[in-house]
C-alpha cells in the first residue's frame, strides 16, 4: 500500500523533472499540447505546480500566448537590464502602429491609417513583422476583402503578456468606446472619401 503511493509519487516526480528539463532546454515557449504529448494529460496540473515552485525564485515559469517558458523574474529587470541597441530603436510610427494593431485587432491598414490620420509609411508594418510581432490575419469579408493584421504569440512573449486581455488598460479603453476602429471624419488621413462603413474605406486600398 505504502509502496504504491510512493511509486505514484515517484512517477509524478519524474514527470515533473522531465517537464522542467524540456522547458528549460528551450528558449521559445512550448505549447501545452506539445508538452502533453511528452508528459501526459496531467501536464496542466504539473505546469501549475512548477509555476508555484519557481514563483519565489529568480527564474519564473510564465504562460504566454499558447505556450509556457522559463524567463528571468520581471522584478530583476532593473538589475539585468540591457539597453536596446540604437539601431534597433523603433520609429514612433512603428510603436504607435503596433499598439493600434494590438488593441484593435484584427485591423486593416485603412483602419490603422484612419486612427493615426496618416498613411502608413514603409518600414512600419514590415519592421513589425520582421520582429515577429504581427502577422496577416483573415481577410475582412467586406467589399475589397482587405487584409487584416493581428499580433503573434511572440508579441505576447516579448512584452510579458499572458494573453491579449492583459494589455495595459484594455478593458478601460474598451469601456470608454476608444477601441472602435471606424474611420470617423471626412478629410482625415486615409479615409478622405466618404466612408459610411469600415469596409468601404478599406476597399480603396485593395
Amino acid at each position: 500500500m505504502t509502496e504504491d503511493v510512493t511509486s505514484a509519487d515517484e512517477v509524478r516526480q519524474g514527470k515533473l523533472r522531465l517537464l522542467e528539463a524540456l522547458l528549460f532546454a528551450s528558449a521559445d515557449p512550448l505549447d501545452e499540447e506539445t508538452l502533453a504529448g511528452r508528459i501526459g494529460p496531467e501536464v496542466g496540473a504539473l505546469l501549475e505546480r512548477l509555476r508555484a515552485d519557481y514563483a519565489p525564485r529568480g527564474v519564473h515559469l510564465v504562460r504566454t500566448g499558447a505556450g509556457w517558458a522559463f524567463r528571468t523574474a520581471a522584478d530583476l529587470a532593473p538589475i539585468l537590464r540591457q539597453e536596446e541597441e540604437v539601431s534597433k530603436k523603433l520609429s514612433r510610427a512603428a510603436i504607435e502602429t503596433l499598439a493600434i494593431i494590438a488593441y484593435h485587432q484584427p485591423v486593416t491598414r485603412a483602419e490603422i491609417e484612419a486612427i493615426r490620420g496618416v498613411v502608413t509609411s514603409k518600414g512600419t508594418l514590415d519592421i513589425l513583422m520582421e520582429h515577429g510581432w504581427i502577422r496577416p490575419g483573415r481577410r475582412r469579408e467586406t467589399p475589397g476583402r482587405p487584409l487584416t493584421w493581428i499580433t503573434t504569440d511572440h508579441f505576447l512573449d516579448h512584452f510579458g503578456l499572458e494573453s491579449l486581455r492583459d494589455l495595459p488598460s484594455v478593458e478601460d479603453l474598451r469601456a470608454a468606446g476608444l477601441l472602435d476602429s471606424r474611420p470617423v471624419l471626412l478629410g482625415l488621413g486615409a479615409s478622405q472619401d466618404d466612408a459610411p462603413t469600415p469596409g468601404a474605406a478599406d476597399s480603396q486600398d485593395e
Partner: protein
Amino acid sequence: MTADLFGADPGPEVDPGQLLLVLDGFEGPLDVLLVLGRDQKVDLTRISILALADQYLAFIDEARELRLELAADYLVMAAWLAYLKSRLLIPEPEDEEPSGEDMAAALAFQLQRLEAMKTAAQALFARPRLGQDVFARGAPEDIDIRRKSVYEVTLYDLLRAYGDHRKRQEGGVLRIQPVRLYSLEDAVRRLSDLLGHMPDWATLASFLPAEEGSLLTRSAMAAHFAATLELAKAGQVELRQDSAFAPIFLRRATRDGSD
C-alpha cells in the same frame, strides 16, 4: 481612467511658431491637432473644437507665411476645419448634413482615440521586454520537441522572398517621380519682370533663381539662356559675350535701337 489618460500631462505650451520648427516630427495633421489640443489644458472630452480650429488655422497661416511646403493633407485638414468652424458659428440648416456639433464630436473622439493609442503604446513599451529586461534561457539546448518544424522559415521569410522576387521582376517598370524643372515660359516671365529693375548690363548668372538642387539650378540656367534668346529675338533685350565661354551679359533693349 479618462483623467489618467488625458489629464496627466498637458505638455508644454506651444505656439504655432514653435510648432513649425518641429514640423518634421509630426505624424500628420491629426498629430498636430492633438498637440494643440493638449495645449488647452483640459481633458480631451471637454476640448473646445472651435478654439482648436482657430489654433490650427493660425498654424497653417504661419507655415504659409514662412513659405514652408505643407503636405496636401495639412491643407485638406485646414479646409475641413474652416468648414467646420463655419458650421459651428452659423445656425444649423435643416438638412441631411451632419450637424456642426456632430462633426466636432467626431473630431474630439478621433483625438481621444489617437491619444489613447499613444498612451497605450507608451504603457506597452514600458513593460519589461524580452531580451532587454527579461531573459530567456541563454544557452538553449538542441532539443526541439516540436517535430513539425525542422526548418526555420517564418511567414515573414516567405513573404520577403516573394517581395524580393517581385521587385526583381518589376525592375523593368519604372515609376518616375515628377521632376521639378524650370520651364522656358517661367524663365521668360521671370526675366521680363526682372529686366525692369536692371538699368545696365548684368550677367545672366545674376538672374538665376537662388534655389537649391543641382538639377533645378541646371535646368534654370538652360531655361534662362533660352529665354534670353527668345527675348532678344523679340527685341526686348540685348546680349553681349566678350569671348567664348565668357559670362553672358544682358540688358533691357533701348528703345531707339542705338548702342
